[in-house]
Point group: C2
Chain length 191, copies 2
DNA sequence: CCACTAAAGCAAAGGAATTGCTTTTGCCCG
DNA sequence: CGGGCAAAAGCAATTCCTTTGCTTTAGTGG
């Protein structure tokens, strides 16, 4: 879990949390991250700055929390009938969402204000979950599948690495190529 | 290139740059990053804070510059006689250096204060360079080799992804497994 | 050797971050 | 249903980081 304290789920804490998160999202959308400050967020959210400092520590940890929330997938991956098609389309969509300017900013924020690594871990868990659904479906169909860990190595890791370290030259074709490698790994002995 | 301006080599600028970088490294070693501030670095380096703000912008970009410098490999990878051995030992060493507490901190810093992505790109280039040396050597020996890009996907990306997003359960055996996958990719058609 | 320019020093002003104390509010127990 | 307890928010003062205009120093080229 994050540094964020347990929030009493219906009380004032929850309302404050909600309004602060909303304020961050709105301000990010309106003006981007340039010049975003805690006092500014506090004012928009109708709270005092010290409340934010006490609950989140600093702007980066607050942004990290908002980012993780925003990176959570909203729907399970669509079923396209075969593992190949499912992996391809998931990889393409993942790349699409994550490599956008907004997506990259959220990833950076999630990593950035994350002292104990729990937010980053959460992001990774989201991706693994989605892949797990796809692989389980294929398994039910009787298709050979790679393990989730292998799929993460072959698809998620290269995409994320390139998004973070070499944002150029990424396209859907590359994502599809990665999906096929993961597929090829399904037939090998589990190395 | 970074936001860091071209420094006249040999002049006062170079001396300031040197003393500031040294101050950062010393303070990081002594007290870690907790409570590290620009004025503190400036004092240790014997310059005024405004000098640092004017040249680097803020603490994060300064740390990013120092981190990239520190992540530069100092020696070409050792020749162990075969591609398999070279890849294995390089992957192990890479994991070792990067997954340490200090290594992780440097990676995070490098990514963090990097508005245009040039510092992250530099880190990636370092790894690609090292791999390129290993692969070229194998090529000369007549061994089949994967392309550098493929080796990056199979070795560097998974290691980096896990270091950043899931720091648990990383060990030398995993690094070796990745090296073997890259090796296996050498015989496939270049997908 | 002198002029020109880039970078560093200096100092003041503005604003973010921190913190002790008070007040509110939600929750639990009698 | 009412009183007390504890957690979190508000408030305000203080600290010090950050910014910025101006001056001074130092390196470069004519």
């Amino acid at each position: 879990m994050s540094r964020r304290p347990m929030v009493r789920p219906g009380g004032r804490s929850a309302r404050v949390q909600e309004s602060v998160h909303t304020a961050v999202r709105e301000l990010l959308a309106e003006q981007g991250r340039e010049g975003l400050t805690v006092p500014q967020v506090a004012h928009r959210a109708g709270v005092t700055p010290s409340t934010i400092y006490r609950r989140w520590g600093d702007l980066e940890q607050l942004l990290s929390d908002v980012a993780v929330e925003r990176l959570r997938p909203e729907t399970p991956p669509e079923d396209r009938g075969s593992l190949a098609a499912d992996l391809e389309s998931w990889a393409e969509q993942f790349l699409d969402e994550m490599s956008s300017t907004a997506g990259r900013a959220y990833i950076r924020d999630a990593l950035l204000g994350d002292p104990d690594g729990s937010n980053a871990g959460q992001c990774s868990a989201y991706a693994a979950e989605q892949l797990d659904v796809v692989l389980a479906r294929a398994s039910v169909r009787g298709e050979p599948t790679p393990g989730v860990e292998r799929a993460v190595d072959e698809i998620v890791a290269p995409l994320m690495y390139r998004i973070l370290f070499r944002p150029d030259g990424l396209d859907a074709a590359y994502a599809r190529r990665l999906a096929h490698r993961a597929l090829a790994a399904a037939e090998e002995p589990p190395a």
